[in-house]
Amino acid sequence: MSGPLFPRWTNTVSRLSAAALLAVPAIGIGGLMAYVRSPYVTNQQMPYEQPIEFDHRHHAGDEQIDCRYCHWTVEDSPSAGIPSTTVCMSCHAQVWNKSPYLVEVRKAFFADQPIPWVRVHNLPDFVYFNHAIHVNKGVGCATCHGRIDQMGAVEQHAPLTMAWCLDCHRNPEPNLRPAEFITSMTWVPPSDAAEAAALGKKLAEEYDVHSRTSCSTCHR
């Protein structure tokens, strides 16, 4: 039983382990904070596979079809609205009416069965987002949905977290655009900062923008 109880190397080991004991919770929480903001959780940049491969690049990009042709309730209803099969058939009865891609659409139309599109932008049920007020106050589609005209399959552009919404609700001016460019995918605010700020202020007054941060604005 002679000799020291612990060998010498245990000094450094015990000091390192003591330090680790303190560091682990800090690193853990930090890691969690980062993970929660990563695309895995916010579901960004995750193209969804739809029952029918509808390609926005062709419709919105090449054909320059305005968003409101299909999502026609965006200006007067909380939901932007997903087009009914008749809207698809309004063109595809004549255009590509024999195309193998569109068999599903034709089948759905004549069988009077709705097409089960997969929801991409999925806010929690306790959040009441209203498209009409945003679109009428100068917030463009691209601001939140990104360059849809460059997306093969639609993916979520913005994190859609509460903090993200609050940033804009607290300072809406930089994200406003003139009403005529609401559905434009290519409009960008003037490059010169002062001019952009002036535009923002002007639009805010013109459209009477008072974005509220009271809780009942979105939670009811």
Partner: protein, 473 residues
């Protein structure tokens, strides 16, 4: 070491011995560490079985509550809080005695604290652990309770710092941490003693690991003493602030019966009152079975009973002041709460039991015979804790069941889950305490030795020995 015979008959005014004089360092070491090495007796295992079964009851109660919701308790619409917050305040109250003994009495240079401070601090830790269970368990959605902490969330939302519940979260976690640190710092030298006096290699390694390689170096003692004193200094305002914040849970509200400025001091006194009672309840059997009678003498028990008497009177003053203010303010709601609802309402029985236990029982300690009689003090300490539980029941449940609008008055009755969880926490406390007694010395060995040395110096000084050479005090 010549045995200094006990010369004079026990003169009542002559203070009793703090440490039996015939001990020296080695024998002290022997008696105090003996119960750690001794194989646990049949009694210990029987008690341990009892507390483990109660702990099982707690697990069942908690699981059923988490699975089904708070609805399985008796809580209802007017009475939103009941057993959950009663037990929380009761346990936190009991916990405060430990810190009081180890910190406040240290600052007051009360020598008699030395042999019971480790015991009381352990009780603090385990009581606060039991209490800490409830702030989480009583929430409707415990899986979101982390929102009470200020972490940078993707919601951009923060806790609301005007709420006493957030204060509670900070207070209880601070209190738990500081008590643990204070207890561990006090424990390091004893762990070193255990390391060096343990028989098997495995024990030496474990105690060695926890004693962080303490070797009793003078340079370490130099910082250790001031650190220990500072921690004690910090713990004193801390313990007063924690129970003040716990009393804020009620004082900042506007319910008649809760909304009173007397609450902070009255709750702190109540905490000390029930804490010392619990120390007495535990220490009386413990010192007998662990053979610590030489170190925890009658004088300790008597002093604690005196503190119980003092704090009992403060609590009684608290009740009287509440009733006086209710009458004096002529506030209709207060008058109803104190004079009609509590005294003659549906829970009148609990109210009068509280008065009996908290106001009448402590007064038996005016008599020295009671202060020194083991059975009387043990029964009295249990009654005090029952009384304090009833006091929290009266404060919380009666004020909630009948407040401003008579139409919303309601009756509360506990369900079996309430009882299971309450008895369960007693089991948890018992289990931890028995494990503590098994693996860690119940008395601060190094402090007692230091005290022994001091007493010897004082004795020599008293006998007129040559003071100069020994540089007393």
């Amino acid at each position: 070491m010549a045995e200094t015979a006990i010369t004079a008959p026990l003169d009542p005014l002559e203070p009793r011995h703090l440490v039996a004089p015939h001990h020296d360092d080695a024998s002290l070491n022997e008696t105090l560490l003996d119960h750690v090495w001794r194989k646990p007796g049949k009694g210990w295992f029987m008690l341990f079985g009892l507390t483990l079964s109660a702990l099982g009851l707690l697990v069942i109660g908690v699981t059923y509550t988490l699975a089904r919701g708070i609805g399985v308790w008796g809580n209802n619409q007017p009475v939103g809080w009941a057993f959950d917050i009663i037990n929380f305040v009761w346990w936190v109250g009991i916990g405060h005695a430990g810190t009081l003994i180890s910190a406040i009495l240290l600052l007051f240079q009360q020598k008699w604290r030395t042999s019971i401070n480790r015991f009381a601090e352990a009780m603090t830790l385990f009581a606060v652990m039991c209490a800490g269970l409830f702030p989480l368990l009583h929430t409707g959605r415990p899986w979101f309770a982390f929102w009470l902490f200020p972490y940078p969330s993707t919601l951009g939302a923060w806790p609301q710092f005007r709420s006493p519940l957030v204060w509670d979260v900070f207070a209880i976690s601070t209190y738990l941490t500081v008590s643990a640190l204070f207890w561990y710092v006090g424990l390091i030298p004893d762990l070193a003693a255990l390391r060096d006096s343990s028989k098997t290699k495995a024990q030496r390694l474990i105690y060695g690991l926890f004693s962080l390689g303490w070797r009793g170096s003078g340079r370490h003692w130099h910082n250790y003493k001031i650190a220990y004193l500072l921690l004690a200094g910090l713990s004193t305002p801390l313990v007063v602030s924690v129970h003040t914040i716990v009393s804020f849970d009620f004082a900042v509200s506007l319910l008649p019966g809760w909304h009173a400025t007397i609450f902070p001091p009255y709750f702190v006194a109540g905490a000390v009152f029930s804490g010392f009672a619990m120390v007495i309840t535990l220490i009386v059997p413990a010192r007998k079975y662990l053979g610590l009678r030489d170190v925890i003498t009658d004088r300790h028990l008597e002093n604690m009973n005196k503190v119980i008497l003092a704090t009992g009177l403060i609590v009684s003053y608290g009740y009287m002041m509440e009733h006086f203010i209710a009458w004096y303010s002529q506030n209709q709601y207060e008058y109803w709460t104190f004079y009609v609802n509590r005294a003659t309402g549906p829970y009148a029985g609990v109210y009068w039991l509280m008065i009996a236990c908290n106001v009448i029982t402590p007064n038996i300690f005016w008599f020295q015979k009671c202060r020194r009689s083991i059975p009387i003090m043990w029964v009295a300490s249990i009654m005090v804790n029952i009384g304090m539980w009833c006091e929290r029941f009266i404060i919380i449940v009666t004020s909630l069941s009948q407040d401003f609008l008579p139409s919303s008055w309601g009756i509360y009755s506990p369900t079996w889950v309430d009882w299971a969880i309450y008895i369960g926490t007693l089991g948890l406390f018992g289990t931890l305490f028995l494990l503590f007694l098994k693996f860690v010395p119940a008395v601060a060995v190094s402090e007692v030795k230091e005290l022994q040395l001091e007493l010897k110096h004082a004795a020599h000084h008293h006998d007129g020995a040559d003071a100069a050479t020994h540089g007393a005090h």
